[in-house]
Symmetry: C2
Subunit: 171 residues, 2 copies
């Protein structure tokens, strides 16, 4: 495994030809995107974003709950006031449940699973979902009602289709 | 606030001209990137990544601890075996401490801060850092030693410079 060895040559070309230096830290569109870590999603290209315009939070599934620390920092320290949350078709989070993944990891760890590791694992929620559209609605509701998310925030919820690259707004 | 109104037109052009459909869910390079939500970082362009190659986790700072749920899913369910973690110059996480941000939010909430909200806030760690290079080393160590991260994982740590778009490897 050494994909990182390709980074430097690609990056030098990027730095010389396409990077925009001297942009301010607060995103110019006051926009925050929450989306999945999935390899088939390029937020800049698929949404027409430019450097400097939006914070982008990515985690397994695009889970709002897991993004909360970052959202608070984005809003309180760096002025974002709009959140667009995306989940997507073909997401890995549609394929397992937390108890199943816990059991799989316990089996893989075997005798390496000490009491502390087992405890961390038992407390970990993997935030999977079984209904894609419902999961978007639930996450948007979570953000709209959370006491630490600013009341004046515009929150929208979307689905990205990996099959054709198209988005549609759910809520 | 209505930046989301621009998404659909941009996206239609993307879907027609540049999206790659029918890529498998597991990233082809077995690579996982962890980086900050900062608006000045485009991981695809700055590292020369293509759709389908790598998971990308982004949160405030590029914090390894906050990425753990996603990393476990990426490794156990979708086969990634290399992690490249990036922090960057000019990061918002260099500008405050958790106690300062808690106080700021409490002041902004004023009488809206009920007991439950205050308790959530008191438990929240914002994972700031004061030394950029040290923060990269600490996060790489965290991943290399974590019992739920696979032992055979290649973990590297990097700094991205927003001033000129260049990266350099720290560890």
């Amino acid at each position: 495994m050494s994909s990182h060895k390709d980074f430097v040559a690609h990056n030098e070309k990027y730095a010389q030809e396409r990077h925009r230096p001297n942009l301010p830290t607060p995103p110019s569109k006051k926009l925050l995107i929450v989306t999945c870590m999935d390899s088939r999603i390029d937020n800049f290209d698929s949404l027409g974003l430019q450097l400097g315009e939006a914070h982008i939070i990515r985690n397994a599934g695009g889970a709002a709950k897991d993004a909360l620390r970052s959202i608070i920092i984005s809003q309180r320290m760096l002025g974002t006031r709009e959140i667009a949350l995306f989940h997507h078709t073909g997401c890995g989070l549609l394929t397992f449940t937390t108890p199943q993944l816990r059991e799989k990891i316990k089996a893989e760890l075997g005798p390496n699973a000490n009491a502390e590791t087992s405890e961390v694992l038992e407390k970990m929620e993997f935030l999977e979902f079984s209904d894609l559209e419902a999961s978007v609605k639930e996450d948007v509701e979570f953000l709209r009602n959370h006491p630490l998310v600013l009341k004046e925030t515009t929150v929208t919820g979307w689905i990205f289709r990996v099959e054709d690259g198209r988005i549609h707004q759910v809520v």
